[in-house]
Symmetry: C2
Subunit: 344 residues, 2 copies
């Protein structure tokens, strides 16, 4: 089988966004793939994950990961099937997970890939509840949030890939769980389907009061994945010795200018001091990458037994990825956003 | 011995300060002390500790401790000698430590007092290097700062009661230690006497550049006790996975208004996320009160052997306390500030 018959389609970064990304920031390219070298595998993408962190990679501002360069393929995790292999561990037909980008095919080092978790009900879950977002939720909650039964936890984007897992695991640990989500449909789902104790609509003009009413015992764990107005409403409700794992700040990703004054920078250290709060940023694979087995051992049975539920928002076709991603940053998705790139 | 011969002198809070405290916020009163009840002891104050946290107790803004009420004696730790006792554990002549306030005599519950640490070279050290400030330094550094040999630590108020211990213990743990202090005399003392690797003068117009030059490998632990311009100069120098124990924010204690904008509140969570930083406020006796023995076991030998050095700034006479305290908030002291109230 000659490999020059494989024509890859991929999205590269065409330009860096100013504020919210637009379709013009992405460019679809066709590309003939080179021959495999020893240790490499040829992959066909089944599902591409779209996640808020990708907005950071489109900018060249200092961050925790190197930016995507102009003309480079957009970064992203995906589930793929092995088409050809020159790595002893992988064989055609194997399904794998790797950071292989926004493209229909890829050539990857076998050593950079992991096989799908055993017992997974559907391959795409390795990008969601059983993948990076689920592990972000689990590790941040358990190891920084340190939840104690009877405490109150708040998490925003509560119907999303991370928030939904944070809240459900916290419920399993005996906490009172209050979600924040955008709109009545999502809030209903969070309470009725995911089993949160309450969910507050951040689009409501009475959001801050509604959150305070739902958290009548204050907040002991705030799992931070959005920032902005939600964090500001949370701040006065935090209890002494609260913990704040910070995995994302989606509300600020598209911001270009700081808001007008006064300058409240000093208020946050003062809050941390007077209430003896721990606030800690983390990147799941960098900080907890060696605990993947611990995560799967806990989460796979919960998912299989229906104790942790999930919702996927599946978009069909790689060409839809830019529009779906732009919508993700505006909260248009409902559940974990994945692009179905090809059939298994 | 009739107790109505004892005339106590004490400073009460006369009014709440707006901004920096003034002498008018304090009032010296004379008071005849009542008879002892069972379980109580009559104390004569030897040394009164003056510490920045007292500024917080003078305000009724929400904080980690209840404010001093108008007309109440100013709060404060002190070393005292037992004059009379109706508690089985204490006898006249014993020296004890307790939170007995700004006064020449006090009546305390014996159960609220601790005996002076064994092997202490001088009683006043129980208010400094072997007392609350030293324990604040040790616990915050070891349990939140988690210092690793070869890392770089920065601490401000480096010649003061907390900063001097933070830096010296970090040196004993193998870190590079950079202090921040106000003026050439203090900086010289921090390097020459305390053994820090460098000390940067925050009064210099090139302070931020000087700090960056001294921290050429970035900052791994920033022990926060001042806030303000020092924290702002530290922020861009923080390394990934840095730790920031927060024990105080003296630069902000007298602030009445927030500075002009833009509003940079969102920058701190973003910094914590992108650099995966842990920032945590703590109050030593609330969060680490059960570890007093651990502290003394480490620190008493270090002090006795000269491995941790200290400097005291002793003011003579209770009547000097308000002026000395006002100066403390402006950095006028040089070393741990204590008031000698009476002779042992």
């Amino acid at each position: 089988m000659s490999q020059d018959l494989i024509l890859n389609q991929r999205f590269v970064l065409a330009s860096r966004p100013k504020g919210a990304p637009t379709p013009e920031n992405f460019r679809l390219e066709r590309q003939a793939l080179p021959e495999l070298e020893d240790g490499q595998v040829l992959l066909r993408t089944l599902y591409l994950s779209l996640d808020p962190y990708m907005r950071g990679r489109m900018s060249d501002a200092p961050s925790y990961a190197a930016p995507v360069q102009i003309g480079e393929v957009m970064t992203g995790g995906a589930v793929s099937v092995v088409e050809q292999s020159r790595h002893p561990k992988f064989h055609p037909g194997d399904q794998v997970v790797g950071s292989t980008g926004w493209q229909t095919h890829s050539i990857a080092k076998g050593d950079d890939l992991v096989v799908l978790p055993a017992g997974i009900p559907s391959p795409s879950l390795a990008l969601g509840v059983l993948g990076m977002p689920g592990m972000t939720a689990y590790m941040g909650l358990m190891h920084i949030g340190q939840p104690q039964a009877g405490e109150t936890l708040v998490v925003a984007a509560a119907s999303g890939a991370v928030g939904s897992v944070v809240g459900q695991v916290a419920k399993l640990k005996g906490l009172k769980v209050v979600g924040v989500a955008g709109g009545a449909d999502k809030c209903r789902y969070v309470v009725d389907e995911l089993g949160f104790d309450a969910c507050v609509d951040h689009k409501s003009p009475t959001f801050a009061q509604d959150l305070a009413a739902a958290c009548d015992q204050g907040i002991d764990v705030y799992f931070e994945n959005v920032g902005g107005e939600v964090f500001e409403a949370v701040m006065p409700l935090l209890n002494p010795r609260a913990r704040i794992p910070v995995c994302g700040l989606i509300a600020a990703y598209n911001a270009t200018d700081l808001p007008e004054g006064p300058d409240r920078l000093s208020l946050l250290p003062r809050l941390l001091l007077t209430k003896r709060i721990r606030m800690q940023g983390f990147i799941v694979f960098d900080d907890f990458g060696d605990r993947h087995a611990e995560f799967l051992a806990a989460m796979v049975p919960w998912v299989r037994d229906g104790k942790v539920r999930y919702r996927e928002h599946v978009v069909e076709g790689l060409e839809q990825a830019p529009e779906a991603f732009i919508g993700l940053l505006q909260g248009h998705n409902f559940g974990k956003l994945v692009v179905k790139v090809s059939e298994a």
